[in-house]
C-alpha cells in the first residue's frame, strides 16, 4: 500500500484530504464524524467575533440536471461562541490526536490576533489558517479579502501571526486579484509557513426573474457572494500552479477549489499542492466521498509506482510554461474512429460554426460518420470536446518535417515555422 501520510508546512495528517473551513467544519461533532469517515484533517470554520447570518445563504447552478456544478454563498464566519468552539477543538484533538486540526482565524486588531492565536494554541490546534479571502460581508468590515487584496496589509498581519504563533501558519488567499503571485509572495515575506488557495470568487449566482431580485434572496434583496464548487477548479488550478512555479516562492500550498474526487485532488497535487481541501462537494454529498478519494489516489499511486506523496507532488509543474515556449511546429489533426462514432454530427456543427470548417458529411448520404479534411484541420480539439463518445475522436500528431520551434525561438533566432493551416 502506498503511504498517504501528508506533510503540509509541518502539519502532518494521515492523508492529504482536509475539509476546508466552511459549514462542514462548523462544530466538533461534525469534524469527529468526518474523521471517522476518513478525512485526514479539518480547517475549523473561521473564528472571530461571532456574526449573525442571513437566510437564505446559498445558490447553485443546475446544469443539465446536475445541481451544484457551481455554488455560491453569502455566509460569514462562525456564528457560534468562541468558548464553545475552543472547547470542541480540544475535544476533537483529544479523541483524534493523529488527525490535523487547523484553526481558521479572522479578526481585526493586533491585540485581537494575539489573543485568538493564543487561545487556538491552548486548545491544541496543529496549525493556523489566516482567512484573508472571504469576498463578502467581512471585507466590508476591513477583513477577509480586503486584507488579501493588499499585499502590505497581508504581510503585516501575517507577521503578527508569526510573532504570536508557535505552530505553523498558513495564509488563505483570495482569488479576487489580477495576479495571485504578489499576494503569495507577501504572505511569504510576512513569514507564512504555507498558503491555502483559493477562497471563493466574487459572484452573483442568478436572478429570481419573478421578483427581480438576485439570488440567494434575503427578503427583497441580495448581495454578491463567493463562488466555488466544480466550476471554479480551473481557476484554482491555475493559481496553485502559478505560485508553485514562481521562483522565490517555494513554500507549501494547500490546494482548494472545486475538488470533487480523487482525480481532481491528484491534479492539484501534481500542479504543486502539498495537500488539498474540500468544501462544496462535501456540502453536496457528505463526508463519505473521502473513501473514494483515499482509495482512488492509492490505486493510482500503485499503478504509477509511487510510494509516497512527495514522489509526485509538483510533477506536472515543469510542463507548465509560457505560451512563447510552446512548440509551434507540433501539429495534430483530428481522426474519427468510424467504428465507435454514433453519427450525432456534433463535431461537424462545432467545427463548421465554431472552428475551421473542416469536418464534412460523408460523400455517401447513407453514412453519418463525418469526414475530417486533414489538410485544413488545425488540431484545435473542439470536435473532441463535443463528441459524446470517449476515445472516438483522437488528435493525432502529424510528421511535418519541421523541427521544434517556439515563438521565442522564431523571434529571437529566426527558427523556421510550418505553414499556417486554416488561415486563408
Amino acid at each position: 500500500m502506498p503511504d498517504l501520510t501528508s506533510n503540509c508546512a509541518a502539519i502532518v495528517s494521515p492523508n492529504p484530504f482536509w475539509l476546508a473551513s466552511a459549514p462542514p467544519t462548523n462544530s466538533g461533532a461534525q469534524i469527529m464524524r468526518a474523521f471517522d469517515a476518513g478525512w485526514g484533517g479539518a480547517v475549523w470554520k473561521t473564528l472571530g467575533q461571532p456574526i449573525q447570518n442571513v437566510s437564505s445563504r446559498f445558490g447553485a447552478i443546475r446544469w443539465k440536471g446536475a445541481s451544484g456544478v457551481g455554488f455560491n454563498n453569502i455566509e460569514l464566519i462562525t456564528d457560534r461562541p468562541l468558548e464553545t468552539n475552543f472547547r470542541e477543538i480540544a475535544e476533537v484533538k483529544k479523541r483524534f490526536p493523529k488527525n490535523a486540526v487547523i484553526v481558521s482565524l479572522m479578526v481585526e486588531t493586533r491585540e485581537e490576533w494575539k489573543e485568538i492565536i493564543a487561545r487556538s494554541i491552548d486548545a491544541g490546534a496543529d496549525g493556523l489558517e489566516l482567512n484573508f479571502g472571504c469576498p463578502h460581508g467581512m471585507c466590508e468590515r476591513g477583513m477577509g479579502s480586503a486584507v488579501g487584496q493588499e499585499p502590505k496589509v497581508n504581510e503585516r498581519i501575517t507577521s503578527w501571526a508569526r510573532e504570536f504563533s508557535t505552530i505553523p501558519v498558513l495564509v488563505k488567499l483570495t482569488p479576487n486579484v489580477g495576479d495571485i503571485r504578489p499576494h503569495g509572495l507577501a504572505a511569504k515575506r510576512g513569514g507564512a509557513h504555507g498558503v491555502s488557495l483559493i477562497n471563493t470568487i466574487k459572484s452573483i449566482i442568478g436572478v429570481d426573474l419573478d421578483r427581480m431580485v438576485p439570488m440567494p434572496r434575503v427578503g427583497g434583496a441580495s448581495t454578491n457572494g463567493g463562488y466555488c464548487g466544480a466550476a471554479v477548479r480551473p481557476i484554482a488550478l491555475h493559481m496553485v500552479a502559478a505560485l508553485a512555479r514562481e521562483p522565490g516562492f517555494g513554500i507549501p500550498i494547500s490546494g482548494i477549489g472545486g475538488i470533487t474526487n480523487w482525480r481532481d485532488a491528484v491534479e492539484f497535487m501534481v500542479l504543486g499542492a502539498a495537500n488539498v481541501q474540500v468544501c462544496t462537494e462535501v456540502m453536496l454529498r457528505g463526508y463519505r466521498i473521502v473513501e473514494d478519494m483515499i482509495e482512488g489516489t492509492s490505486s493510482w499511486m500503485r499503478e504509477r509506482g509511487f510510494q509516497r506523496l512527495d514522489d509526485f507532488i509538483g510533477s506536472a509543474v515543469p510542463a507548465y510554461t509560457e505560451w512563447g515556449d510552446l512548440d509551434l511546429n507540433y501539429e495534430t489533426v483530428a481522426k474519427i474512429d468510424a467504428s465507435t462514432c454514433i453519427g450525432c454530427q456534433l463535431c461537424m456543427v462545432a467545427c463548421h460554426d465554431g472552428a475551421h470548417q473542416c469536418i464534412h458529411p460523408s460523400p455517401d448520404p447513407a453514412v453519418r460518420v463525418p469526414v475530417v479534411d486533414e489538410a485544413e484541420c488545425v488540431g484545435c480539439n473542439l470536435c473532441q470536446i463535443v463528441c459524446p463518445v470517449p476515445g472516438c475522436i483522437d488528435l493525432v500528431p502529424v510528421e511535418n518535417g519541421f523541427s521544434p520551434a517556439t515563438w521565442n525561438d522564431h523571434v529571437h533566432g529566426g527558427a523556421a515555422l510550418r505553414p499556417k493551416k486554416g488561415a486563408h
Binding site: 463519505r288 473514494d292 482509495e295 482512488g296
Partner: protein
C-alpha cells in the same frame, strides 16, 4: 473440476442484458444520485453499498468499486447477472418515483466485477489459522459465500458436494441468457482463490459421510444443500419418455448437448416454468406452450420475465389442469390432456416439462436431535443457527427457495455467526 463439454446446448444463448462498455457505464453511473441511506441498499439482501460502488465507477476508481461490491457480496459477479433486480435494488431506486428510468444497478455491478475478474484484482486474504474447522454440505452459492467468509477469518473449511460440478444452481440451473455455466465456474474458481478450501466432490451426506463423521471432523457444520429434485405428477402416462422435471432438463441443456423436440409443453407458472419456456424457444423448439392452472395474474413467475417469454413467441394456456400424459408410438409422450373451465383439451407435445416445484431436502436432517423441520425447510434463527448446537443452515434449504443473492447473504451471515461461536465473541 472437469472442464465442461464444448457442445453445450446453452452455448446458443446470447446475454439478454448486454454488458456496458466504458462510456455507457460512466454515463449511467453519473446519473446515480448517490442517495443517503439509499433504498436500493436496503433492497439488496447482501446490502451492497450501491451508491458508493456506482460513484467509484463515475470517478474512474473501478477497482475500488469492485472492492465495495465484493466486501458485501463475494458472488457479486453472478448476482450482477442473475439477480431479479427489477424486484430488488432497481425496483427500489428513487428514480422510479420521478418516473425516470431507474439506475441499471445490475449492469453497473457487472461492469465493475467483470473488470475485476479480467484484471485479476484480489481483495481478500485468508486470515491467520485459528485451528478450527468447519464442514459445509453442498457447494452452491450459500456454502461458497460461507466458505469465503470463514477463510477470511482463518477457519479451515471442507466442502462436501454430491455432484462433480461446483456452484449449485448457479452452474446447473440459471438461465443461460443470464449466465452460462462456464462463467459460474469462473466465479467458483475466483471465490476459492482465497485458498485453503478443501473440496470433496461426489460425496453425498449422509450416505457417503455420516453426520457423526462430520461432527467428529469439524467444530461446526453448515447445511447448504438447496432444494431437491423436481416434483412430478402421479398421472396416467407419467412414465412415458419425454415427461420430465424442468430443473433436470435445464441442467442437461446447460451442461451438455440436447435434441430439440418439435413441440413442448411446460406445466407451471413460477420462475422455473418461465425460464424453461424461453430456453426451449432458444434451443429451437418450434411450438412452446406454458400451461398453468391459474390465470396470468396468479402466476408466481416475475412479470418482467414472463413478458420477455411472451415476446419470444411462447403460447399460454390458462386455467388448465393436467389429467393425463398421452402416449405416442414407442412409449414416448405425444401430448397432455388438460381440463379447463370450458372442457377438455389435448395439447400435442414431444416433450413435457414439469415445473411445479422442487422437493425440500430438510427431512434428511430430521434425524439430528435439535434440528426442526417445517414442511421440509430447516428452521433457523438469525445467523442461520439451527436448534442443534454447532449446526447452521442457509440458502434454499433454510429459506424455502429464494434467489442466489439470499443464499449468499445467509451463507455469509452464518459464517459470521459461526466465527463468533467458535471464538467466543472475539
Amino acid at each position: 473440476m472437469e472442464p465442461l463439454p464444448e457442445d453445450r446446448a446453452e452455448a446458443v444463448f446470447e446475454d439478454y442484458k448486454l454488458p456496458y462498455g466504458d462510456a455507457q457505464a460512466v454515463v449511467e453511473a453519473t446519473r446515480c444520485l448517490y442517495c443517503f441511506d439509499a433504498p436500493c441498499i436496503k433492497a439488496c439482501p447482501t446490502g451492497i453499498d450501491i451508491p458508493e460502488f456506482i460513484r467509484k465507477i463515475a470517478t474512474g476508481n473501478v477497482e475500488g468499486s469492485a472492492r465495495t461490491i465484493f466486501s458485501s457480496n463475494i458472488l457479486g459477479m453472478s448476482c450482477a447477472r442473475v439477480c431479479p433486480v427489477e424486484v430488488l435494488c432497481v425496483g427500489d431506486c428513487v428514480y422510479n418515483h420521478l418516473e425516470v428510468p431507474p439506475i441499471q444497478i445490475g449492469r453497473l455491478q457487472r461492469y465493475a466485477t467483470d473488470k475485476a475478474y479480467a484484471a485479476g484484482w484480489r481483495f481478500f486474504e485468508a486470515g491467520p489459522d485459528t485451528g478450527r474447522s468447519v464442514g459445509l454440505i453442498g457447494a452452491g452459492p450459500a456454502s461458497l459465500a460461507a466458505a469465503h467468509e470463514l477463510r477470511r477469518m482463518g477457519h479451515r473449511v471442507v466442502i462436501y458436494e454430491r455432484r462433480d460440478v461446483l456452484g449449485g444452481l448457479n452452474s446447473t440451473g440459471v438461465a443461460p441468457y443470464k449466465m452460462k455455466s462456464d462463467r459460474a465456474l469462473d466465479e467458483v474458481a475466483w471465490v476459492l482463490g482465497i485458498g485453503g478450501v478443501e473440496v470433496r466432490t461426489g460425496v453425498r451426506v449422509p450416505e457417503d459421510v455420516s453426520y457423526d463423521a462430520l461432527e467428529r471432523a469439524h467444530d461446526a457444520v453448515f447445511i447448504g444443500v438447496g432444494l431437491g429434485a423436481d416434483r412430478l405428477l402421479a398421472l396416467p402416462g407419467a412414465d412415458l419418455a419425454g415427461v420430465r422435471g424442468a430443473v433436470a432438463w435445464i441442467e442437461e441443456m446447460k451442461l451438455g448437448p440436447t435434441v430439440a423436440p418439435r413441440r413442448a409443453v411446460v406445466i407451471g407458472g413460477g420462475n422455473t416454468a418461465v425460464d424453461a419456456v424461453r430456453e426451449l424457444v432458444g434451443v429451437g423448439v418450434a411450438e412452446v406452450t406454458l400451461a398453468y392452472r391459474g390465470d396470468e395474474s396468479r402466476m408466481s413467475g416475475y412479470a418482467h420475465e414472463w413478458d420477455a417469454a411472451k415476446k419470444s413467441g411462447v403460447r399460454a394456456l390458462w386455467s388448465a389442469t393436467p389429467t393425463a400424459f398421452l402416449p405416442g408410438p414407442g412409449g414416448a409422450v405425444a401430448g397432455v390432456r388438460f381440463t379447463r373451465p370450458d372442457g377438455v383439451v389435448d395439447v400435442p407435445a414431444d416433450l413435457v416439462l414439469l415445473a411445479i416445484g422442487q422437493e425440500k431436502l430438510g427431512d434428511r436432517f430430521a434425524a439430528l436431535d435439535g434440528i426442526t423441520i417445517d414442511g421440509g425447510t430447516i428452521v433457523v434463527s438469525t445467523g442461520g443457527a439451527t436448534g442443534r448446537p454447532r449446526w447452521y443452515a442457509g440458502g434454499d434449504c433454510a429459506n424455502g427457495g429464494k434467489e442466489v443473492v439470499n443464499a449468499v447473504a445467509e451463507g455469509r451471515d452464518a459464517a459470521r455467526a459461526i466465527h463468533l461461536a467458535l471464538t467466543g465473541g472475539s
